[in-house]
């Protein structure tokens, strides 16, 4: 009996031992499995972290190289930065051209000649003009000519002054009223290398230091503030990318003028029949909308207020456009602006084929040929005589294939626009 019990107990203990051993064995296997898994995950994580670190390192190195390249390019391509916004008074009188560098005195609101460039060709063939010969005493220049010029794409300072020289000669030849002298107030807009200049026609470029646009604005403001009714409207010649600066300036000055008009006489605009009618129409429409639309959220009064203000602002803008167009006439050549301000009575000059299609490479790609008054320049392919007549006045090669060079194609027709401009009243 006791032996039997002992044997039974032994079996139970054996079973219990095996059960406990199995549990431990399973737990151990599980633990080993978990540990292995953890080890693998850890290894994968370390590998992944290493890859990421390598990518980051490569990225940083690449970015540093790009920054360095960009910095080098920036330094290289802004070699004419100190000339950006410089102004020159270029006059051709009795067959001789002279050029003075001007300085604008903010306090006096006047331009002063600070020195004179050596006789032509002013450093032609170089990238920058020859140094000026400073005057002992600065000389006020007033009145300034009624024609300004802003260069466009891929133009060095020396080339820009040459353009102004050719334009002033064309004014002298084409304007009998100029008493034997043709004068142009020229502004240099810096080039940043031809490739980048061209891309600037397609993508936004200007930074906050857009000096050239500010200069264009100043000219326009002075023109509209002039009280001399016998003076002709200011003619602003803008070649190529210069048309973008000029259009921005025109919009900015017009917007300021519209705002001034509105603030000076809000009753004129707010209480105009047109504004009152717009308010009535909007109130009625909003009431109708609210009656049928359970989601209508806006009170008729608000809708009416918005409509009246919009009409008043539009009318002030219309008045400002009128004043601008009476006092400022923009003449673009080879323009680079596809969407000029619709309120501007601009004249667009560009080389075109006999059907009026632009051949100027900049205008055909990025410019406008539908707004304003187009003036076609014959491409000179019809006759050899015409071709010879189109020879560049400063002696450069006849045709660079772009139909865009100012001196070659545009100086004479721009001068003609200026010469034909009548006094304001």
């Amino acid at each position: 009996m006791a032996k039997g019990l002992l044997s039974k107990l032994s079996e139970v203990l054996q079973s219990a031992y095996e059960a406990v051993a199995n549990v431990f064995s399973g737990a151990k296997a599980e633990a080993v499995s978990v540990a292995c898994g953890a080890k693998e995950m850890l290894e994968e994580t370390v590998d992944a972290a290493h890859d990421v670190a390598v990518e980051i390192k490569d990225g940083v190195v690449s970015a540093a190289r790009n920054v360095d390249a960009a910095r080098r390019e920036y330094v290289y391509t802004r070699q004419f930065r100190q000339y950006d916004g410089k102004r020159y008074l270029v006059c051709t009188c009795n067959g001789k051209t002279s050029a003075e560098e001007l300085r604008f005195d903010e306090a006096a609101g006047e331009y002063y000649a600070i020195g004179r460039l050596p006789d032509p060709p002013f450093g032609r063939g170089d990238e920058v003009p020859a140094p000026i010969k400073p005057y002992h005493q600065e000389k006020i220049r007033k009145p300034l000519p009624g024609l300004t010029h802003l260069n466009g794409i891929d133009v060095t300072p020396a080339q820009g002054i040459q353009s102004a020289r050719v334009l002033s000669g064309a004014v002298r030849d084409g304007c009998p009223q100029e008493d034997g002298c043709g004068c142009v107030l020229y502004t240099y807009s810096e080039t940043q290398g031809s490739a980048k200049d061209f891309s600037d026609c397609l993508g936004a470029k200007m930074g906050l230091d857009d000096r050239v646009t500010k200069i264009q604005e100043r000219d326009m403001r002075q023109a509209i503030e002039s009280s001399d009714p016998t003076r002709r409207p200011l003619v602003i010649s803008a070649h190529s990318r210069g048309s973008i600066h000029t259009d921005n300036a025109w919009k900015n000055v017009r917007d300021d003028l519209a705002d001034k008009y509105y603030k000076q006489n809000p009753d004129k605009y707010d209480n105009s029949p047109e504004a009152i009618q717009a308010e009535k129409d909007a109130i009625a429409a909003q009431q109708a909308a609210n009656a049928t639309n359970p989601d209508a959220a806006v009170s008729p009064a608000m809708a009416g207020r918005v409509a009246r203000r919009q009409k008043a602002k539009d009318m002030a803008e219309r008045d400002a456009n009128k004043t601008m167009n009476e006092n400022v006439h923009v003449v673009t050549s080879g323009n680079a602006i596809r969407f000029p301000d619709p309120g501007q009575d601009v004249t667009n000059i560009y080389v075109a084929d006999d059907k009026g299609k632009a051949k100027d490479s900049v205008t055909s790609l990025t410019g406008n040929t539908t707004h304003g008054q187009p003036v076609y320049v014959d491409d000179g392919t019809k006759s050899q005589a015409e071709k010879v007549a189109r020879e560049d006045p400063i002696g450069d090669k006849y045709d660079d294939g772009n139909y865009h060079r100012f001196t070659q194609w545009y100086a004479k027709p721009v001068a003609a626009q200026y010469c034909n401009k009548k006094p304001k009243k």
């Binding site: 900015n252 109708a288 959220a297 806006v298 608000m302 919009q310």
Partner: protein, 158 residues
């Protein structure tokens, strides 16, 4: 309090004393507000603009937007240049911004609010200024569309 709550209160302010009507933000923080406006250009009939309000899921920003035009899937570079160039000057966009919805090929006028709070009165004023800007920019875009056939001025809706 949250920005979403502020916008909800602001939307109520648009009713300007009206006893009925009004929209509320939906579960995703969005709503569309119809606004009557005078006819543009040569049109004679008033139109109804839709101005959308969207509170960001983070509750840190909200956006007011409205459709200006349909554009090609890949708008022409000069058109994009014109938009970006105008946006450089606050006057030219009435203080707002342009945005492209690439999914729907549309051009919108947008304003993103980034401060943590806005009062109902400020919201109503902002909404009114935005509506005014939309009307003015619709005129601008109509001008662009005349020069670029790819840009489609929005159809008028009643």
């Amino acid at each position: 309090m949250s920005l979403r709550t502020d916008v909800t209160e602001g939307l109520k302010q648009l009713r300007d004393g009206a006893r009925r009507g009004g929209v509320a933000l939906d579960g995703e923080g969005r709503c569309s507000v119809p606004l009557a406006a005078p006819a543009l250009g040569d049109g004679k009939e008033p139109m109804v603009l839709t101005i959308d309000v969207q509170v960001a899921s983070t509750d840190e920003h909200f956006t007011i937007s409205s459709l200006l035009a349909g554009v090609p899937a890949e708008p022409a570079a000069p058109f994009l240049f014109a938009l970006l160039n105008r946006q450089f000057y606050a006057n030219q966009t009435d203080g707002m911004s342009y945005a492209l919805n690439a999914e729907r090929n549309t051009l919108l006028l947008v304003y993103h609010w980034v401060l943590p709070r806005i009062s109902p009165e400020q919201f109503a004023s902002l909404f009114e200024e935005f509506a005014l800007a939309v009307l003015r920019q619709l005129g601008e875009i109509a001008g662009l569309s005349r020069l670029d056939p790819g840009v489609k001025a929005i159809p008028r809706r009643r």
